[in-house]
């Protein structure tokens, strides 16, 4: 369990994190979402005591991080996969970390096996791909068999097999009753992995919801295929329907559910070949939610 209680962090005039509070519960995978510069990494660094909040505090399993007697046994964190000495072997990196907690060499071998780096353990991480670095970072996070796991963008640079592996790993960690907290910009991946979502923008909390609520909160979107799409458009509220770019027979209608559209087409005797509810993607829900909190907006998006 991670309890973030009213933390604020300023860098000069810039407020990176602004009175942020939320709780990450054990037993589920909690995703941490937000645009670039929203304060996600700063928040994660404050959880593990690397950065000191200007106000507020964070409790991990009821204690401040700095007061943990053996932090690696309680919290495993991957904050930056590249933050290893490039000329110190992967094995030495883990062994040095293990030594601080009296963790044996057998456990080092074990985590290297888990992440699939056994063969390259004696090589220097300077030559690792980003994906291999991520695996090494995950190995370090799991070294102390912690009850809380915090991962900042763990699937960046991983191949599809690696991404699936991380997903299954995180789900299994949560199923064992551990607290799993991860950030990612890959919405499709987050949708498959997380059960709960914490969304931040400009350092403030925007949403703290279950994944199912997040995607259900959006307006219904329906896909209609009809040879008389032009006539149907005139019957719908203005602006609610858009044509499929490649096929003018297909309309995407927002704000009306399937029943309403079916009644409408039946009354006006419009033949319908296909009528289906489009599942709102996490990406759409996320973009709609954070629209006003994007720190570095592109002109293309604000024009759209």
């Amino acid at each position: 369990m991670i309890e973030v209680r009213g933390i604020t962090k300023r860098y000069g005039k810039q407020t990176a994190v602004d009175d942020l509070s939320f709780t990450v519960r054990p037993g589920v995978v909690t995703g941490f979402l937000g645009p670039n510069g929203a304060g996600k990494s700063t928040t994660m660094r404050m959880i593990v005591g690397l950065t000191r909040p200007d106000a507020g505090d964070v409790l991990v399993d009821g204690k401040r991080y700095a007061d943990l007697a053996a932090p690696l046994h309680e919290v495993g964190a991957l904050l930056d996969a590249r933050a290893v000495h490039p000329r110190r072997s992967a094995y030495s990196h883990l062994a040095a970390l293990a030594a601080t907690h009296g963790i044996g060499r057998r456990r080092v071998d074990e985590v290297l096996d888990m992440v699939g780096l056994r063969e390259v353990a004696r090589r220097r991480p300077g030559g690792f791909s980003l994906g291999m670095s991520q695996r090494l970072g995950i190995a370090a996070a799991l070294l102390g068999d912690p009850a809380v796991v915090i991962l900042d963008e763990p699937v960046n640079g991983l191949d599809p097999e690696g991404i699936r592996w991380v997903r299954q790993l995180l789900k299994s960690l949560a199923a064992q009753g551990r607290t799993v907290f991860l950030s990612s910009h890959l919405m499709s991946e987050m949708a498959l992995t997380a059960d709960q979502l914490v969304v931040v923008g400009r350092g403030r909390l925007i949403a703290d919801v279950a994944m199912s609520e997040m995607t259900a909160s959006q307006k219904p979107t329906v896909r209609v295929r009809t040879p008389e799409s032009d006539r149907l458009v005139t019957l719908l509220p203005p602006g609610s329907a858009t044509y499929e770019s490649t096929n003018r027979q297909i309309l995407t209608v927002t704000g009306l559910d399937t029943e309403r559209i079916a009644e409408l087409t039946a009354r006006h005797q419009i033949p319908v070949y296909e009528l289906s509810r489009v599942q709102t993607s996490l990406e759409d829900a996320y973009l709609a939610l954070t629209e006003h909190d994007v720190e570095y907006a592109t002109t293309l998006r604000s024009a759209a």
Partner: protein, 274 residues
């Protein structure tokens, strides 16, 4: 995922004196491993050994082949055994600096601080690892240097006398280099950049010497003996130079610089965001 235990281990160590001692020992073990596993460490060690041992053997060989005059006045009471010190002190300072700034430059320091959030054991553990390595390397190299010089000079008929002041000077040089490495580590913590720390070190060791030239003589007479280089040099001189501190008083002053550097590093590192 059978490798992960079903119930995470929760360590409920009570922070007794023994637990704190254990904690420092473990952090030292981690820092020692990191120092050993870094290639730049062994480059520095190689250079230090060559610089120290090479100087004495070179001086001895010079006498043996007749390039240097076989007189005690020419080679000095130490037989040139410490001639490589000026070079080696920079090498071991760099070793101390890199042990710290290497972790900062790569971000590895954040991983270390996540494992040891109180941070003080990391500062002390690194200093102990660096000091231990430099002490062993220095004492061994100086012994080789002196014995090599002595044997080679004896072959040319020049017999050096080994009295307590010589032993103190040779051992003192080992202590001095150990202190230099600790000062380097302290500056590394304070400045976090290799270039900055090396610049500060050179300024502290050599730049301050300029003071003796610009200060009024009466002030200089009081201040100059306490400068790190002058205070540290006393323990390596078989015969004290006029106006300098006594050997052990001088070394105590020098050691104080190292201790103050490390203490301020501890305070700064604990307060700073990593």
């Amino acid at each position: 995922m059978t490798a992960i235990a079903q119930h995470p281990t929760t360590n409920t160590t009570v922070t007794t004196g023994r637990a704190i001692g254990l904690r420092h020992r473990r952090v030292f073990a981690g820092e020692w491993l990191k120092l050993r596993a870094t290639r730049s460490t062994w480059w520095s060690v190689t250079l230090a050994v060559l610089g120290l041992a090479g100087a004495g053997v070179f001086a001895g060989a010079g006498v043996a082949v007749g390039a240097l005059q076989a007189s005690a006045a020419e080679v000095g009471p130490l037989g040139g055994a410490l001639a490589g010190l000026g070079f080696t002190e920079i090498v071991v300072a760099v070793l101390g600096i890199l042990a710290v700034t290497g972790d900062y430059a790569t971000g590895a320091i954040r991983t270390t601080f996540t494992a040891v959030p109180s941070r003080t054991p990391v500062v002390l553990g690194k200093a102990a690892a660096v000091a231990g390595l430099v002490a062993v390397v220095s004492f061994a190299s100086i012994a080789i240097s002196y014995v090599g010089s002595r044997l080679l000079m004896a072959s040319a008929g020049l017999h050096l006398t080994l009295d307590p002041s010589i032993v103190r000077s040779l051992a003192g040089a080992g202590l001095y280099l150990t202190g230099i490495a600790v000062i380097g580590a302290g500056l590394g913590w304070l400045l976090r950049s290799t270039a900055g720390a090396l610049g500060a070190f050179l300024g502290l060791l050599y730049g301050l010497q300029v003071l003796s030239l610009v200060l009024p003589q009466r002030v200089a007479e009081v201040v100059v003996p306490y400068l790190p280089s002058n205070a540290g040099a006393t323990i390596m001189q078989p015969v004290a130079e006029p106006g300098s501190l006594s050997p052990w008083a001088g070394f105590a002053v020098f050691a104080a610089y190292a201790v103050i550097g490390l203490a301020s590093a501890t305070i700064v590192v604990r307060r700073r965001d990593a």
